[in-house]
Symmetry: C2
Subunit: 174 residues, 2 copies
């Protein structure tokens, strides 16, 4: 049944995604993860510390899934279009809850600089991913921006309509 640490992160992933970071309490996390409170604070020194651990885990999971999706094709163009299909896949899998990183970005204050830099690092990696695929920086940033808004707009409207439209735009662009 996994280690307590894993159970905590798995449960937190689910709850942060479903309810948001600030609306999810430690008590609910440990209760649903079947972990004692003392055990929680043995692994994480604070809730923010858990948040960083969660974002790191999410980063690893999310990118490996993206790479899996992209690797289905060989041509750059198809690979990029696959990335947008990955958004649709994730939306359907996770119920249009958007990007964990951007959701938490909206919830943190100036004092939580550590969390902010984890979010920035994640997005920088995504930006680099498109740059490596495409070479040209202006084009890759263009597609990065469309990718980002595709995630957000599908969360907002609980629909893949604008993801599909982005695919059409990107298809004409490359």
């Amino acid at each position: 049944m996994n280690t307590p640490r894993e159970r905590i992160i798995d449960t937190a992933s689910l709850l942060f995604h479903q309810q948001g970071y600030n609306s999810t309490g430690i008590n609910q996390i440990i209760s649903e993860a079947n972990v004692a409170k003392a055990s929680f604070y043995q692994h994480f020194k604070s809730k923010d510390d858990l948040c960083v651990a969660f974002l790191n885990a999410r980063h690893g999971y999310w990118f490996s899934e993206l790479i899996t999706y992209v690797s289905k094709s060989k041509s750059t163009k198809k690979r990029i279009l696959n990335a947008f299909d990955f958004i649709i896949y994730m939306n359907e899998k996770e119920g249009f809850r958007g990007c964990s990183f951007l959701n938490i970005l909206s919830e943190i204050s100036k004092e939580q600089g550590t969390i902010l830099s984890v979010i920035q690092a994640h997005k920088n990696d995504l930006r680099k991913f498109f740059e490596k695929e495409l070479g040209e920086e202006l084009l890759s940033d263009h597609i990065y921006l469309l990718f980002e808004s595709s995630i957000i707009e599908s969360q907002l409207f609980k629909s893949n309509e604008l993801v599909e439209k982005s695919k059409k735009i990107v298809n004409n662009l490359i």
Copy 2:
């Protein structure tokens, strides 16, 4: 010194923007607005009710400012570029706090459907704004998506770099 209702909405605007919706309590709002708690609940039946009122007020303010900015030019192209300059202006004015509507989107749960529809209505109006300016739907949605990500990325990186890049992209696009 304004009416209590106005003082509440003004204070809430500031605090929701600075600290987020869930992190801002009623007590802080009424204290900083110099309003009694009973007065607050005479004007708003709940915190979510205040949220809706705030978003409506924000909608009015934000759009009127956008229109002012856009109206400085006559050609469609220049007007669209002005809209991106408006993002830069707001970022500098408000300290890269991003979009009130999207920030609250990240904080609400499924039960808060009323708030969600106010956010969706705002973004639909923005989408229509670009459609009216540009006519072509694919192009106007393309620019709408770049506009949205420009706001978010500048909030994320506390910088106007990607807004400027979007301007360059849009300049080549129209």
